[in-house]
Symmetry: C2
Subunit: 199 residues, 2 copies
């Protein structure tokens, strides 16, 4: 009847949703427990503090999300520009409504917590670095096989691409308008196109 791993996951998922909605600082442990039907005993058995719970959400939930959505799909990819365009389209479709209403969890937490807690800042920075490296590596491979212009600074381009993605998601979140996300994404696609090697 008892399954502590599952209980932990329930708490983690509920915390993820709560944080996604209200941010970490305004996230209420009482609300998380009310949503799960569990009690403080369970929560503090699995997580020593609220901060530890937040860290776990970053390390286990958000980290995995970015890996699955962005890093892994880029590892085997011949034309990184095309791949990024497809991933953008897919991301916009898959998580469309949720992200348009509540934004990208990674960006939300990074904006809220980077100037408040050093642990959050570093953990989130680590995820951003992984994401950027995945893009930079893909661009470099694209250069090797002639799909990407040789004069592109892959690292700097990766930084700008991630920033633009988060920027567009942020605009769409405030506007609550998925069309604005597409309009903004079109600008990014236009930029990506300039990275393509032209015959």
């Amino acid at each position: 009847m008892r399954s502590p791993d599952q209980t932990r996951k329930i708490l983690l998922d509920a915390a993820y949703e709560e944080i996604h909605h209200y941010g970490f600082q305004a996230a209420s442990l009482s609300r998380i427990l009310a949503n799960t039907g569990l009690t403080k005993g369970a929560l503090y058995h699995h997580f020593p503090t609220k901060l530890a719970l937040g860290y776990a959400v970053v390390d286990e939930v958000i980290h995995e999300e970015i890996l699955n959505c962005w890093a892994t799909p880029l590892t085997d990819c011949q034309d990184p520009v095309d791949c990024l365009m497809n991933l953008l389209q897919k991301a916009a479709e898959d998580t469309g409504d949720e992200f348009v209403e509540m934004g990208c969890p990674l960006n939300n937490l990074a904006q809220e917590m980077s100037s408040v807690d050093e642990g959050f800042r570093q953990k989130l920075g680590h995820i951003y670095t992984l994401w950027r490296q995945a893009i930079a590596n893909a661009l470099a491979r694209g250069q090797a096989n002639g799909k990407v212009r040789a004069d592109v600074d892959t690292g700097a381009a990766a930084i700008f691409i991630v920033a633009a993605i988060e920027g567009c998601l942020g605009m769409a979140k405030n506007a609550r308008d998925i069309n604005l996300l597409f309009e903004c994404g079109a600008g990014l696609l236009h930029y990506l196109d300039t990275l393509h090697a032209k015959p």
Copy 2:
């Protein structure tokens, strides 16, 4: 000895800094009052609720900031691409350290509050719209005098430019690294350059 307007401004400025640091939800009225040396009597004499104080910060402080830094300088500007490049450089230099540590107040609030409070969302959205329109108008004037390519969708380009600016500031805030801001800005400059009409 008494100057209510000045008192109000002191409260407003302190609230702006507190919100800039901790966000609106985690902003503490007690901390604001401690920083000003004033008391609750003064605060609640000038502002009926915490929400009203937050709204005032948006309407009076942040609104003015965007107007002065972005909208106004673009009104009389022959080559909008060059102007934007200069404004980016200037913004990075002027507010450099503060923004690198605590981010753009407009973006911070928009990300935090858009999914929490409809009033904040609309007020901040209004500021974003003004900002975008200023850029779009400048681009359109650039098209009229041949500085900007005629096939550019000025509205969509303005959306992307604002998104990219906020995205770059967000990346730099998390990294706490002004060099990353410049690297990211270089990507934006590269995009802006593609808008230029080529001879």
